[in-house]
Subunit: 342 residues, 2 copies
């Protein structure tokens, strides 16, 4: 599977999905579309990901199986300047994947082209229409299940899951992520956006994804939201109970003390927060927080190191910043925990 990623005018810093595909994707990225940086290569901008040429348009891109819209404007609409690229891709028979509020299949031109050229249009925000309520069976799979939970939104739950997947694979463990949000779904090419499901089916959607991936040895479930979040806690708990994890990893942003965007709400202290996750999980699945991941991207290296050490002390578990540090110590803790629970 080869993909082209559309990231016009936003590569690399505002193209989270494009970077995710380059850093963690299993598929070969054969080109990035960015009219501002055409002629460069990915590695000219981001050193530690798979390399690819940056080209101005789909007409300049090599053959591929799929075009992924790797950016989203505020509001999630379709940017008309992308239309020629999407048109060209479909005329070449490529599938197209997007995570916009605007559904490509409801665009007359794209619907016609998809039919004519036999292209699959995938909208990662749209959940499958045959979801059901959970049956409480996720823990029955042979795979070890580890869920990343957080003290808040945007604390690194997805990034940590992929970093641990890659570290596990380097040790020969057959690991996979269970993607629950649109960036993860685009990276994996599969998954369900749990926050878009009917609320009654959210836990069932997670359970279904775990059964579909049960032939791996280690499943890293991408959590969403946070258990003490005033708006998103329902999604968080549906993932926690739907995944019935053998172990939890808790993510946090160094120094964050209140819920982002909801500044009247203080975050519980991290050790208390970890105990809260464990006590709510327990009636469905006894589990515990065995590791931590800290986002220190806003700190200098010395402050980051101190923050990670402080976080590990507070949690009473190993912790790393999965972007700066070798995730080895955290992976060790996770593999120990799931071995002993197996």
């Amino acid at each position: 599977m080869s993909v082209v990623v559309l990231a016009h005018e936003q590569f690399p810093d505002r193209a989270k999905t494009a970077l995710g595909l380059l850093r963690y994707g299993d598929r070969e990225v054969v080109a990035v579309l960015d009219r501002d940086n055409a002629g460069d290569r990915v590695r000219d901008h981001v050193p530690d990901v798979q390399d690819a040429p940056i080209v101005a348009s789909m007409a300049d891109a090599p053959d591929c199986d799929e075009l992924v819209i790797g950016i989203a404007p505020i509001g999630g609409g379709f940017e008309e300047s992308w239309r020629p690229d999407v048109r060209t891709a479909m005329e070449r028979g490529c599938d197209v994947t997007a995570g916009l509020h605007y559904f490509l299949a409801e665009d007359d031109e794209f619907a016609t082209l998809a039919e004519r050229h036999d292209c699959t249009l995938t909208e990662v925000r749209r959940p499958p229409d045959d979801l059901t309520v959970a049956e409480g069976t996720a823990s029955q799979v042979d795979a070890a299940v580890v869920t990343t939970v957080g003290t808040d939104c945007s604390t690194g739950k997805m990034t940590t899951a992929y970093a641990l997947r890659d570290a596990a694979r380097e040790r020969g463990v057959d690991a996979a992520v269970v993607p629950t949000g649109q960036t993860g779904i685009m990276i994996d090419g599969a998954g369900i956006a749990i926050d878009r499901t009917v609320s009654d089916f959210a836990a069932g959607a997670v359970e279904r994804m775990i059964h579909e991936r049960a032939d791996h040895d280690l499943l890293l479930v991408e959590g969403q939201g946070a258990l003490a979040h005033p708006a998103y806690s329902g999604v968080t708990l549906a993932i926690l109970h739907g995944s019935q994890p053998d172990a939890l990893l808790m993510t946090h942003v160094a120094g964050r003390e209140v819920v982002h965007g909801f500044e009247d709400f203080a975050l519980p202290p991290v050790d208390e927060y970890a105990r809260l996750y464990e006590s709510v999980a327990a009636p469905v699945r006894e589990t515990s927080v065995v590791a931590g991941a800290l986002n220190t991207s806003h700190l200098d290296p010395d402050a980051a190191r101190a923050a990670v050490e402080g976080y590990a002390d507070d949690l009473g578990t190993p912790a790393v910043d999965p972007v700066r540090d070798d995730p080895g110590p955290v992976l060790d803790a996770i593999l120990d925990a799931v071995d002993s629970s197996a």
Copy 2:
């Protein structure tokens, strides 16, 4: 507002919505449609609810503003034998409300009749299409907010909310229920089925309903599911955090020890369960379980009385069976709690 309730062949025992409308509805029920009991009156079958004639068809019913489909076959489909009643109602200009999986507005005949006779078709399972994420503001309303939570599904959360509403009104307190499920929505004629919303918007939908009802003195939020339920806990927590309650009441079924339909999952002991609700609520809103309601419908009176006493002891709060008992002691505890938190 006057309503006719369709309950063919299921009145009274399998007509939960019809009974709810008769027992708790603010609108006058002018007839019940039940071809099996035509000629009887409601009070011939159910003594303690508003009375109405039972008639065989809509053609025999008096004038009304609205026809409510008060029963649902397994699977939630539309029963073709109801078609003449729905047709007659619309030809007489009545609105029609249903909670089926089958949407009346998607039926060609009903859509045509609704347009011709200016009837509103309300599908209580379908959430509004302009829901948003919660802003964390429910606690800012002047009304006192009490949320009914449970140890499991079908433990009496809706019934208790309505029983307390009526007891509060008898004392002159302007109380209202915030309906979150389809029976409550039909009883009130308004509300949002939280289990059918997009999961990201579930807490926001509850918050919106609280703001819409903020001019009452006491709001009784109908909880759904249970915090330790393997499938529905996400909906439960969205309601708990979205409603930011001043106090909680916990419902339970006497003798139930495992999750109904999920028998591998034991219910936590009731006192532990109450503490779990409180600790998960706390980061968003400090609150506590101040009363209990026990469903003892399967017990004889002596056993029921002993069970309620035992439940009150376990919880350390007043408790009643809201169907058998005067809810006074529980209402006292709730009014004391919300007064002291105001």
